[in-house]
């Protein structure tokens, strides 16, 4: 007979991005939850980490958070599940988290346990073959379907796992699971489904727990929350002494980072939250019922995230205080651009100016057209496949702000203020080349699982 209730703790909405707060974690751990689950990824951080295969989070914070979860879960002898290892869930990030777990087990002389891990990177040739066979790689969020050109300019692809590899790993007896890129909610839904709970309950539980204390109030990130499920309802409880999960905070969280608050899509189906009923169960707990699971019709569709390198990149900064120059800032930029063109007439490059004080933050969405600031900051971004070109474009494009030729300028000893008279080499420019779905026959085909033993 299965369990009547299941309790899952979520310590952090993005493990390692900022360290888990320990007080609420240990308050939660002392109640002995059945599973310790945490998402460690996001595509919010832009296309650079996936493309360049690096982390956005600090390794010491990642280790800190993994250590808390490993200590508590091993002490209790219950499973620990991490999804989207190292921000992007690429193979190298999964390997890195497996190594972290190995180090931590050694540090604490842990007894033997079984660690399952799975990769989620997708080979370009796998997709090319599918496309050549006529398979449509459908675009999401108003994107066109994938073209061969999109594929060619992509450097790295991850598939976003649903519950399938996690359930498989639990069936194989895993004590710790380190997952590649995954749907946030699947990390929590998988153990619930594995334990025999209905899918609508399991997926909603995942949906509400994925960002940890973002579903609680007052606002305070990186605090633990616990989801308690039965076959009939989901209850979510804040662990921090001063936080509560309220109807407002839980319903409000349903909207966070998604286009529509009613529907959540993942490999295998969709969670319909349009008929959800929220109740204040006790002071710190909100109870939710009325959610529905709608399984996908036909083949399971797995989401793909892809990033491709655009070029090497430099940044320059130029401050402007002269009111006449501010008034004519567009002419000044045109001047600088013309000087770059004159210097490098045949080079291939891209040059962008963000004008902070005018519309640097919002760009085309900025409704305020009249610049009232008494000073501006220009952020100059130069990109080229050739690193030397990227550097020179940015340097000329920044320095020529200083030499801007305006007919009535009075400050003839320099029209820009520099924090540093140099340009900065920064991460290469990447672009999100894929936000698509691929239909698959077997949801495990993109997520090979391996099992190892760790500890003494």
């Amino acid at each position: 007979m299965g369990k009547d209730t299941l309790r899952i703790i979520s310590p952090n909405g993005h493990l390692g991005f900022a360290p888990t707060k320990e007080e609420s974690f240990w308050i939660g751990a002392r109640t002995k939850p059945d599973y310790y689950c945490c998402d460690s990824g996001s595509n919010d951080i832009g296309p650079v980490p996936l493309g360049a295969d690096i982390c956005a989070s600090h390794p010491e914070w990642q280790k800190h958070d993994l250590e808390l979860m490993l200590l508590a879960s091993r002490e209790q002898g219950v499973p620990m599940i991490i999804g989207s290892a190292g921000d992007t869930g690429t193979n190298s990030r999964v390997d890195m988290y497996v190594e972290f777990i190995r180090e931590l087990a050694k540090k604490h002389n842990m007894k033997k346990f079984k660690l399952a891990y799975f990769y989620s990177e997708v080979d370009k040739d796998y997709l090319r073959k599918k496309m050549e066979e006529g398979e449509i790689i459908e675009g999401l969020d108003s994107r066109p379907n994938l073209t061969f050109e999109d594929l060619d300019r992509t450097d790295r692809i991850v598939a976003v796992a649903g519950v399938h590899p996690y359930i498989k790993a639990l069936e194989m007896g895993a004590d710790v699971i380190i997952g590649g890129r995954s749907s946030d909610c699947a990390i929590f839904a998988a153990p619930a489904i594995y334990e025999g709970f209905p899918e609508h309950i399991a997926y909603y539980c995942g949906k509400v727990l994925e960002c940890a204390s973002f579903c609680a109030e007052p606002y305070g990130a990186k605090e633990s929350v616990i989801g308690t499920i039965t076959k009939d309802d989901v209850k979510v409880t804040a662990m921090h002494p001063n936080q509560r999960c309220t109807i407002a905070s839980v319903a409000g969280h349903a909207m966070y980072e998604r286009s529509n608050p009613y529907y959540e899509y993942f490999a295998g189906g969709m969670l319909d939250m349009s008929e959800c009923v929220y109740e204040q169960y006790d002071e710190k707990t909100c109870r939710i019922t009325g959610m529905k699971f709608v399984p996908v019709e036909g083949k399971i569709k797995v989401k793909l995230e892809g990033s491709g390198k655009v070029g090497e990149r430099y940044l320059g900064l130029a401050g402007i205080r002269d009111p006449y120059t501010i008034k004519n800032i567009d002419k000044v930029i045109e001047w600088a651009k013309s000087q770059v063109k004159e210097r490098l007439p045949d080079a291939e490059y891209q040059l962008s100016y963000r004008i902070f004080g005018k519309n640097g933050v919002m760009g085309d969405l900025e409704p305020i057209k009249e610049t009232k600031s008494h000073e501006l900051l220009l952020v100059v971004e130069g990109v080229s496949k050739d690193k030397k070109v990227a550097e020179e474009v940015t340097l000329v494009g920044t320095r020529q702000i200083f030499y801007a030729r305006l007919p009535e300028v009075k400050g003839t000893a320099g029209t820009a203020a520099f924090v540093l008279d140099e340009v900065f080499e920064v991460s290469p420019a990447y672009e999100w080349t894929m936000n698509h779905v691929v239909p698959v026959d077997d949801p495990l085909e993109l997520f090979p699982i391996k099992m190892i033993e760790i500890g003494e």
Binding site: N260, P261, D364, E431, N435
Partner: protein, 108 residues
């Protein structure tokens, strides 16, 4: 007619990426009466949002009045994916301030 600014009625006004291609906006009220007031005023809709941001209505991917959270939510398609060349707001989290000054008519 007397009006009051949205910023003086809402508890939360925020924006954030919804995937790499979209930015989503949430306007959340603490009091149901204030939510109903704004909702019934009809001032916030796809057309007015498009005008405020100076974009065609076709760029608004979703517009939802979400009763359980006393919230109005809409989503805009980005012109280029987040973090592309020339980006000004990778997380899309500073695009909401123009909503503050929307004038909501109230009974005197």
């Amino acid at each position: 007619m007397k009006t009051v600014k949205l910023v003086d009625l809402a508890k939360t006004i925020r924006s954030k990426n919804a995937g790499p291609d979209r930015i989503t906006f949430d306007i959340i009220f603490r009091e149901p009466e204030k939510y109903e007031l704004v909702k019934k005023s009809g001032v916030i809709n796809k057309k007015s949002i498009a005008e405020l941001f100076g974009i065609p209505e076709s760029r608004i991917a979703d517009f939802v009045e979400f009763d359980p959270a006393y919230a109005i939510k809409f989503t805009i398609n980005r012109l280029t994916p987040s973090g592309s060349f020339g980006e000004g707001d990778v997380f899309g989290c500073q695009q909401y301030p123009p909503l503050y000054d929307i004038e909501i008519p109230i009974d005197e």
